[in-house]
């Protein structure tokens, strides 16, 4: 495994992720969702709320910056030792009786999980919230094999009922308002009549889920931090559903990405504190589960077997490049999307990827290849709001710039760092920039082109492509600044000479 990590992931997954197709449709998705006023209002309201909550969660800017710096260093240290920590994690987990499985692709991950379930003749699964299982489209895979999967996180439960995907990594159903959820429940749950009281809705959901927890054969969860030192799987949640999934069914399968491993138990408190405050503005989540073994002899509850599936799915491609590796520092708090003016406008589904927003733009190209995601790196003004709030100080705008570069590189240029390199390159655009550079690096040609632009300004078209669909065209000046400065200097010189005479 450790040797594999330094290699670019060249192994294609056998069946392309369904998300590749939806990511390719980014532009159509954007048009669709920008036109949906209700959706836009839902996102704006929710993002305003989450931004305010985060802001109130830190006592001072200094405290926040100190914690961000500390957590960045923790994650960078852990990534620097990633291959070794993964081996240590495997060893410690196995000592604790937790079986570790390695999956390079999403298909491998799904196969492993399906096999584990089949070995126990499992027919029904309850799931805690796991974005990595969204990444592998696990629910679809299992349902095709007659295993029923029920999402037990309230947001995920709503999204699953609506036959949708999460639109936010922390708040999966944030794109829906309470009226929409009330209607969904009324349409789908027997004996439930339309009610927009949020508490009533939540109680209704919990009632359905409670029975399912007791009936399910298998619980599947994600992992927030996997501690190598002790072989501990940490799970952050607010609803208690994570604890139910990981304790009630006889078989617990956890799935996570390889970047979630951290070195020491001591690394957990600062990361946890920053995660919950950055995500929802909570000082701590309602539940924090630390899973270190299956049920031990003499214990009355807990699963009889615990497994961990560690998924690569393009992460080792990011790991192999020092700059892109910073993408893996992410602790999935969602603050970047909460603060992103693009995400706020288009919402989470428009991206077409599992992970939306700035983190989605950074990580999805590694998972799906640049060919499917070539519109994503440019879909940012590089305003930097994401980088400013990222709890582990990922320089998100810089990484987007880097992805833009990989996206427009000549396809065969070596070294090939990313799958789908050069997918966004158009010969016309490349030619335009070559001409642009040729003109702008030559003072003579630049002066000539500016002279032309200002002298023939009345010939400048009133329509300038998409720019003028919502704006008027700017008007070139009569004289350039270069010319005006020159003329002024000449005048000053003349005046000075006159005085001398």
């Amino acid at each position: 495994m450790s040797e594999d990590l330094t290699q670019v992931n060249s192994k294609e997954s056998s069946d392309e992720s369904k998300y590749a197709a939806s990511a390719r449709a980014f532009r159509d998705n954007v048009s669709r969702d920008l036109a949906n006023d209700e959706l836009r209002a839902n996102f704006r309201g929710a993002m305003d709320y989450l931004m305010a909550k985060r802001k109130d969660a830190f006592s001072s800017q200094d405290e926040l910056e100190m914690l961000r710096y500390q957590c960045k260093l923790i994650k960078q240290r852990c990534l620097a030792k990633l291959p070794y920590l993964l081996e240590e994690l495997e060893q410690k987990l196995e000592q604790n009786g937790i079986k570790v499985h390695w999956a390079e692709t999403i298909t491998e991950a799904n196969e492993i999980i399906a096999q584990l379930i089949a070995q126990k003749n499992g027919k029904s699964v309850v799931k805690g919230k796991s974005m990595v299982s969204e990444e592998t489209a696990l629910n679809d895979y299992l349902e095709q094999r007659d295993v029923e999967c029920l999402e037990s996180d309230m947001g995920e439960y709503i999204v699953q009922m609506a036959n949708q995907h999460p639109s936010h990594i922390i708040m999966p159903a944030i794109h829906q308002n309470k009226q929409q959820v009330a209607k969904l429940f009324a349409d789908n749950i027997d004996d439930f009549s339309y009610d927009t009281d949020v508490d009533v809705l939540i109680q209704q959901g919990r009632k359905v889920l409670r029975d399912k927890f007791c009936q399910a054969d298998v619980g599947i969860s994600g992992v927030n931090f996997a501690v190598a030192e002790t072989g501990t799987l940490c799970l952050v949640e607010n609803e208690g559903n994570g604890r139910m999934c990981t304790t009630v069914p006889d078989l617990h399968i956890a799935i996570t990405g390889i970047e979630k491993v951290i070195e020491k138990l001591n690394d957990v408190p600062p990361l946890l504190s920053l995660l919950t405050r950055s995500a929802t503005g909570q000082a701590i989540s309602t539940y924090f589960n630390m899973i270190t073994s299956a049920r031990k002899k003499g214990e009355k509850d807990g699963p009889k077997e615990v497994h961990l599936v560690l998924l690569d799915n393009g992460r080792s491609q990011a790991f192999a490049d020092e700059e892109l590796r910073q993408t893996l520092q992410c602790i999935r708090c969602g603050a970047c999307m909460n603060h992103c003016p693009v995400y706020t406008r288009i919402g989470g589904h428009a991206y077409g990827t599992v992970y939306p927003g700035p983190i989605g733009k950074m990580i999805s190209p590694h998972m799906l290849g640049l060919e499917a995601t070539s519109d994503l790196p440019s879909a940012s003004t590089l305003c930097g709001a994401c980088g400013e709030v990222c709890p582990v100080e990922i320089p998100i705008p810089r990484i987007l710039l880097r992805l833009r570069k990989e996206n427009v590189k000549p396809k065969n240029q070596q070294p090939q760092i990313m799958k789908g390199q050069g997918a966004g390159r158009s010969s016309v655009e490349a030619f335009i920039w070559q001409v642009w550079a040729f003109v702008h690096k030559s003072p003579t040609l630049y002066a000539l082109s500016m002279w032309g632009l200002t002298r023939f300004r009345f010939f400048m078209p009133k329509k300038l492509g998409p720019w003028t669909s919502v704006r008027t065209a700017p008007k070139p000046a009569a004289m350039t600044l270069h010319e005006r400065v020159k003329a002024q200097k000449a005048k000053q010189l003349q005046a000075a000479q006159k005085r001398r005479v």
């Binding site: 954007v30 048009s31 920008l34 836009r40 910056e65 100190m66 710096y69 003016p341 693009v342 406008r345 288009i346 440019s378 879909a379 940012s380 003004t381 590089l382 305003c383 930097g384 709001a385 980088g387 400013e388 100080e393 320089p395 710039l401 833009r404 570069k405 990989e406 996206n407 427009v408 966004g424 490349a430 920039w433 070559q434 550079a437 702008h440 690096k441 030559s442 003072p443 630049y446 002066a447 200002t454 998409p466 720019w467 669909s469 919502v470 704006r471 008027t472 065209a473 700017p474 008007k475 070139p476 000046a477 004289m479 350039t480 600044l481 270069h482 005006r484 400065v485 020159k486 002024q488």
Partner: protein
């Protein structure tokens, strides 16, 4: 400590006699008044302003589009235009951010690049931290808004300096608009490549600026202003932006504010 913060902590030169002005390609071709006003304002403070005629563009358009080789060729040609060891004042936060921070990566094989980047100052940053400009406001009473560009705010950390300068104007009341720190949706080629998202963003920005009922809004970046003004003009609104150099000069000279 934090990179974003530490990059704002810098030492400033004392009493420079001469400075270079980097006018930016946008000001050069579309908004030369702002460049002339910046020069006049600096000259009134006793600074000799050198405007190298060989300058063109900082290279940001190609850089942000991923065409780094092309950006590098242009960036390199710019570095050569500013040989003297004197401050380079840039009348745009985003071009300033490009030259101060991104040149370090782009031109990492140029030995003197660190020294060059250390000489880059955004215009309002220079007025506040180097000149320590004191303004006597001779303009009429009015209310204005301030739009700080994202690059000025997050790359250069100079959103505060614009506020500090406007706060010195006794007759001017600064009105804060909603979502003041949010991007206007320009983003260079973003506005063309993702025109519909950009349109949604500038629609919100103009809405929030219009809600303040100010006579004009001030900015230190013509990129944002070209976007916002273009949208306001299209909506047939009379509100317009003015570069902070022109605005401050007008207040100092006491000419009627338009």
């Amino acid at each position: 400590m934090n990179k974003l913060n530490s990059q704002h902590l810098r030492s400033y030169p004392k009493n420079p006699k001469q400075v270079y002005l980097f006018g930016t390609c946008l000001v050069d071709s579309f908004f030369p008044d702002s460049g002339m006003d910046a020069i006049e304002l600096l000259e009134r403070e006793g600074i000799e302003v050198i405007y190298p005629q060989g300058q063109s563009c900082c290279g940001q358009p190609a850089y942000n589009s991923g065409y780094q080789d092309e950006a590098k060729a242009v960036a390199l040609s710019q570095v050569k235009q500013f040989p003297l060891d004197i401050p380079i004042v840039v009348v745009s936060g985003s071009c300033g951010g490009m030259m101060r921070h991104h040149y370090l990566d782009l031109l990492d094989d140029v030995p003197e690049i660190k020294g060059f980047c250390d000489r880059i100052f955004e215009f309002t940053e220079f007025l506040v931290h180097v000149l320590r400009l004191k303004i006597v406001d001779k303009g009429p009473k009015e209310q204005v808004a301030l739009h700080t560009s994202c690059a000025a705010r997050r790359e250069m950390g100079v959103h505060i300096t614009g506020n500090q300068l406007l706060a010195q104007l006794d007759n001017v009341e600064l009105k804060l608009h909603d979502y003041e720190s949010e991007c206007c949706g320009f983003g260079g080629t973003f506005a063309v490549k993702h025109a519909d998202i950009s349109a949604a963003m500038v629609a919100d920005k103009t809405k929030h600026l219009l809600a303040t009922n100010v006579v004009k809004y001030i900015s230190a970046d013509h990129g944002c202003m070209m976007n916002i003004d273009g949208s306001l003009d299209y909506q047939e609104e009379s509100l317009r932006g003015q570069h902070i150099a022109s605005y401050l000069l007008g207040r100092i000279k006491g000419k009627e504010s338009v």
